[in-house]
């Protein structure tokens, strides 16, 4: 029945093409390739790629490592530098410490204590800080970062006392200097700043000093009258030895 159908319709007959099996048992030869035919070899030779060599004068004295290694500046450094710049601009107190050998446990403890006082302990590499700071107003802090260091940022400058108190307990952190309200301070100046009275008391003292000028004039004008009143009070309470002084006062006034 099938044969009858196939004889009638030749297009429906599907013959498989001639197959020649090249790979048998999976191991192919690539280590000893056959020499190509001359025509093929000619085409291969012509189509080999030619790369331009750098001019010898430039690379003559460079070592192979220098010639082959092309160091690109990592753009992540720029991002971190921008972060550092941000921290420097938005914190009113920046303190820089020299860090001696310290365990991670201890520095974590310090970081937590500082965080509770709204102070942030950070550390960056010298190259990144250089990138962030050169050419800006903060360039003067660059010499502090030659060795192992850490930085404490705080958005309010009233915390210097707390900072000094906490870091006094940590012998490995050595205060080098700081920036308070865009002013570079050395270590001693920072310690003095911590001992200054607060802003309100300083303002009260200023007001008192200003009023003192007028106050002294008033006081001197009223001095004699006040003295007389005091003496009369004492006399009125029944003091017998106040009598000779009263005579002196009366002759003066």
């Amino acid at each position: 029945m099938a044969n009858l159908i196939q004889k009638g319709l030749p297009l429906t007959s599907a013959r498989t093409p001639l197959l020649q099996l090249m790979r048998h048992r999976g191991k192919i030869n690539i280590q000893r390739p056959k020499e190509p035919h001359y025509e093929r070899a000619r085409v291969v030779a012509v189509t080999q790629p030619k790369y331009p060599e750098p001019p010898k004068a430039l690379t003559c004295f460079q070592s192979r490592a220098q010639r082959t290694a092309a160091q690109l500046e990592n753009p992540y450094n720029a991002i971190i530098a921008r972060e550092v710049r941000n921290w420097l601009d938005h914190s009113r107190l920046v303190a820089i410490f020299h860090l001696n050998s310290i365990t991670a446990d201890e520095i974590f403890r310090v970081r937590v204590q500082l965080h509770k006082q709204n102070m942030h302990l950070k550390s960056y590499g010298r190259k990144i800080i250089a990138q962030a700071v050169t050419g800006t107003q903060y360039e003067a802090i660059m010499p502090l970062f030659h060795s192992n260091h850490c930085i404490v940022f705080s958005p309010d400058q009233q915390r210097v006392g707390a900072l000094l108190r906490l870091t006094r307990k940590v012998p490995q952190m050595v205060l080098l200097g700081g920036i308070v309200e865009n002013t570079l301070l050395s270590r001693n100046e920072l310690i003095n700043f911590a001992q200054l009275p607060g802003l309100q008391s300083a303002q009260a003292q200023l007001v008192q000093t200003l009023n003192m000028a007028a106050g002294t004039v008033v006081q001197q004008l009223q001095a004699h009258q006040c003295n007389l009143v005091k003496v009369l009070d004492v006399h009125a309470k029944g003091g017998s030895d106040a009598a000779p002084t009263t005579d002196v006062k009366e002759t003066n006034t």
């Binding site: 020299h98 050998s101 010499p143 060795s147 192992n148 270590r187 001693n188």
Partner: protein, 156 residues
């Protein structure tokens, strides 16, 4: 015609391994107190700061737990120095009360080399405390004295 060999068989590991090698032989037993003074904004303070860091590492500070390292920060551009205050026996040895390094023009490796040359040599020699005898050693010592007496009960 062959030229006889000249040069090194092994390459040096660089400055870092030289520093590490010097650090291993630092001994602060002869020192009572170390004072490191520097101005952080001055030039050439890097080596002083690095030396201070290396002195604070646990290996060096464990060589003498009683030795105190104090750091003074000044702001008058004075040159940096490191003072080692010696203990009494070391003072007799060195004929000096303290040793002072002016570290402005020295780098870290040189500081460590000088420290090993002058300070580590003043460490008092270690006294051997009572050695704990093992059973075998005790037997050897006691067995040669009373061999029969000791062995008889054991042979039971």
């Amino acid at each position: 015609m062959s030229v006889p060999f000249s040069g090194t068989l092994r390459r040096s590991g660089g400055i870092v391994s030289a520093i590490g090698k010097q650090l291993k032989s630092v001994n602060l037993k002869g020192v009572k107190r170390i004072t490191v003074q520097f101005d952080p904004f001055a030039e050439n303070v890097k080596s002083t700061r690095e030396f201070l860091f290396l002195l604070s590492t646990p290996k060096v500070s464990l060589s003498n737990p009683k030795c105190v390292v104090k750091s003074d920060i000044v702001c008058d551009r004075s040159p940096a120095f490191i003072k080692f205050a010696l203990i009494d026996s070391a003072q007799e040895k060195a004929q000096a009360k303290e040793i002072r390094f002016n570290s402005d023009n020295l780098n870290t490796l040189e500081l460590l080399e000088l420290c090993n040359k002058h300070v580590s040599t003043l460490a008092p020699p270690e006294e051997i405390t009572n050695k704990v005898l093992t059973k075998a050693e005790k037997q050897k010592l006691g067995g040669s004295g009373g061999a029969g007496g000791k062995k008889a009960p054991k042979k039971k």
